[in-house]
């Protein structure tokens, strides 16, 4: 680890801290329908949208209506995405004449983008036409993020409203999230990315003549080998900057190119790298301030922010430390840090980003449910790879996905308050609302679905040699980590991968689709039920027995609950994966 590396980590975090408050206050104004500077531009557009679509913006929805409308909207958009993928060969904006996407892969991709996961079991530049990328995938990048924000706002309203049967209007919240927050942010951000060299065009792919022709030997399906001399390279183009902006700001993470944010056309410079990491955390961090504003308890918002920040800094430290240590298997090689040598594990990392920015990016992208990558997580040292996996396993609550991170952490807040209430033997209260049996049941449903999907699908895959294990390129504990990571990433709606798993098979496409849908929608329903139930309650004035939710003690308890739930649930699986791999690496074994 170097001072320069740590400076970059803290500079990044200071930037997030600096911008969280203004953005959070702005979002509170937007969702409370208070005056903002952007009203003059967006209010007429908003009114026009409602007039065209017949939406009554004054209509308030009960939690069930809010949830059902969201589910039906997601179903319809998912099916449209599936149809466009399947028909892209007859649709325009396909200069490469790419064929229709295979049905199982099309389902996987439709589920992936609808759920804000952006798991990609395909190579985008050779699978998806420009139209598919722009119309369906980029559309979902906006709307899955907007839905996440809308749901978080609905939960905040559930906490702040008194004796109310409603939580707001889904259409209004999603529209305002898109128009006031995501669109202006993406417009400015895309231009900044173009200034750094991110491409934005509709050109067919360029053909470059190789200076040194390469001879490639391939084995066909019949087992025969053939040798071919490659003299040209195809250089993919496309409308990248516009998609890159929402990919990061909406914590989507699906790359326009296969190499994602390691590709020089997606993430060309250290400055674009900083912008990308910053944009992942920006809205989730801002939403903690929005929580404080809308619940009239700003200190509570900051206490939640502090819990997230603590877990984030611990993750960065472990990842950066693990990646910057000399590899014990190369003990005879000089691995000291010099001006020309990073001094740690550079496998799978871009030289222009180095160890510090690769470890930081990996932590940021898995804290928030983004899933964009600028390095190969599969090539991290075992403990370095453990960090992204644990970040997702904790429930994507360390800032988390836009909206999803906040409603996820608020579930843990309810559990923390409940545990604190048990400790002192009083009915737990959260911001003046009594937490009762139904609330805890819904919170536990939310918490339990997550490991059930991850561990259940992983176990089934590990038991089936022909379906699950045959897709592995690594054996032993690393192979287990690859499968575990895939289902963790899918259920956590993250989308990053330990890329040693060849996931484009019928089994993985279908089971990962199911994991993504379960991890998104079956967790949203109990969260919305909790929100609806909280909204109906009376406010209870604080008493000496009330556990304050704005103190450092609360932050410590919240961090403890998140870690204990995560650790107890996943420690056995992790001990057979990355932890065992770490121990075996020191014994001289690698996988």
């Amino acid at each position: 680890m170097t001072a320069n590396g740590w400076f970059q980590v803290f500079f990044f975090f200071a930037l997030v801290l600096l911008c969280a408050k203004p953005l959070g206050v702005y979002m509170a104004h937007v969702f409370e329908r208070e005056h903002t500077w952007a009203d003059r531009i967006f209010r007429p557009i908003e009114r026009l949208i409602y007039r065209l679509t017949g939406i009554d913006e004054t209509h308030e929805m009960a939690w069930t209506e809010y949830a059902v409308v969201m589910l039906l909207f997601s179903l319809v958009t998912m099916l449209v995405t599936y149809a466009i993928e399947r028909l892209q060969q007859v649709l325009p904006l396909n200069p490469q004449h790419l064929a229709a996407v295979a049905p199982d892969l099309a389902l996987n991709t439709a589920a992936s983008f609808t759920t804000n996961t952006n798991w990609q079991a395909y190579v985008p530049e050779t699978t998806m036409s420009y139209l598919t990328q722009m119309v369906t995938l980029a559309y979902h990048n906006f709307f899955s993020a907007a839905i996440g924000i809308a749901l978080a706002v609905a939960l905040i309203r559930g906490i702040s409203r008194r004796e109310s049967k409603t939580l707001g209007n889904f259409w209004v919240d999603a529209t305002r999230a898109s128009l006031w927050v995501l669109l202006p942010g993406c417009l400015i951000y895309a231009l900044l990315l173009v200034s750094q060299g991110v491409v934005q065009n509709f050109r067919p792919y360029d053909q470059a003549k190789l200076v040194q022709p390469q001879t490639v030997t391939t084995t066909g399906t019949d087992g025969k080998t053939s040798t071919q001399t490659v003299t040209t390279q195809s250089i993919a183009q496309g409308p990248t900057a516009s998609q890159e902006a929402i990919k990061m700001l909406g914590t989507n993470g699906g790359g326009f190119f296969n190499a994602n944010s390691a590709h020089p056309f997606e993430n060309p410079t250290p400055l674009s790298n900083l912008m990308q990491m910053f944009s992942i955390f920006l809205i989730p961090a801002g939403l903690t301030v929005t929580l404080g504003r809308m619940t009239r308890s700003p200190k509570h918002g900051w206490a939640v922010f502090a819990a997230m920040a603590t877990l984030f800094l611990v993750g960065v430290f472990v990842a950066y430390y693990a990646e910057s240590q000399p590899n014990p298997l190369l003990h005879s090689v000089n691995q000291h840090v010099t001006a020309t040598q990073a001094g740690g594990n550079m496998e799978g990392k871009e030289v222009r980003f180095g160890i510090a920015n690769s470890a930081l990016f990996a932590t940021v992208t898995t804290d928030a449910s983004c899933g964009a990558v600028n390095s190969a997580h599969d090539s991290f040292m075992p403990l370095g790879g453990l960090v992204p996996m644990v970040n997702i396993m904790l429930g994507e609550v360390i800032f988390g996905g836009v909206g999803a991170g906040l409603y996820g952490v608020l579930i843990f807040v309810v559990l923390s308050v409940f545990i604190a209430g048990l400790m002192v033997g009083r009915t737990p209260e959260y911001l003046g609302k009594k937490i009762e049996s139904y609330d805890v049941k819904m919170a536990m449903l939310y918490v339990l679905i997550f490991p059930l999907s991850i561990l259940g699908f992983s176990a089934v895959s590990l038991m089936m040699p022909n379906l699950g294990l045959s897709a592995l390129t690594n054996t032993g504990p690393h192979g287990l980590s690859e499968i575990l990571y895939a289902y963790t990433s899918a259920t956590g709606n993250n989308g990053s991968a330990f890329a040693g798993l060849s996931a484009n098979t019928h089994w993985y496409n279908l089971s990962i689709s199911a994991a993504m849908l379960i991890g998104r929608f079956l967790m949203i329903v109990p969260m919305m039920a909790l929100a609806g139930n909280l909204a109906r309650k009376k406010m209870v004035p604080p008493s000496p027995g009330t556990f304050p939710v704005h103190t450092p003690l609360f932050t410590v308890l919240l961090v403890g609950v998140i870690l204990i739930v995560g650790a107890l649930t996943f420690f056995p699986a992790l001990s057979l994966g990355p932890i065992l791999e770490h121990l075996l690496m020191h014994a001289g074994k690698t996988f």
Partner: protein, 75 residues
């Protein structure tokens, strides 16, 4: 085309006018020619049905959670 071709092979067995009309319609829709290739039509039907089923379960789950809340309040 596999499914359509196999259905065409058994066209005589389709006595009903509705079945014949449906076949004619299928022939007219060009994308079906593609998706029919390699037994993919059934995949499409399966994928769409599975998606609809999942969301139907999610809506049922929503109603179940609501009913549990109502029951607890009555209790």
């Amino acid at each position: 085309m596999v499914e359509i071709a196999s259905v065409c092979g058994h066209q005589d067995a389709l006595k009903g006018q509705i079945g014949r009309r449906l076949l004619e319609m299928l022939r007219c829709i060009r994308p079906f020619e593609y998706v029919g290739r390699g037994g993919r039509t059934m995949w499409d039907v399966g994928c769409v049905a599975a998606s609809v089923l999942f969301f139907a379960i999610a809506i049922g789950y929503t109603m179940g959670c609501e009913r549990l809340g109502t029951k607890e309040k009555q209790g």
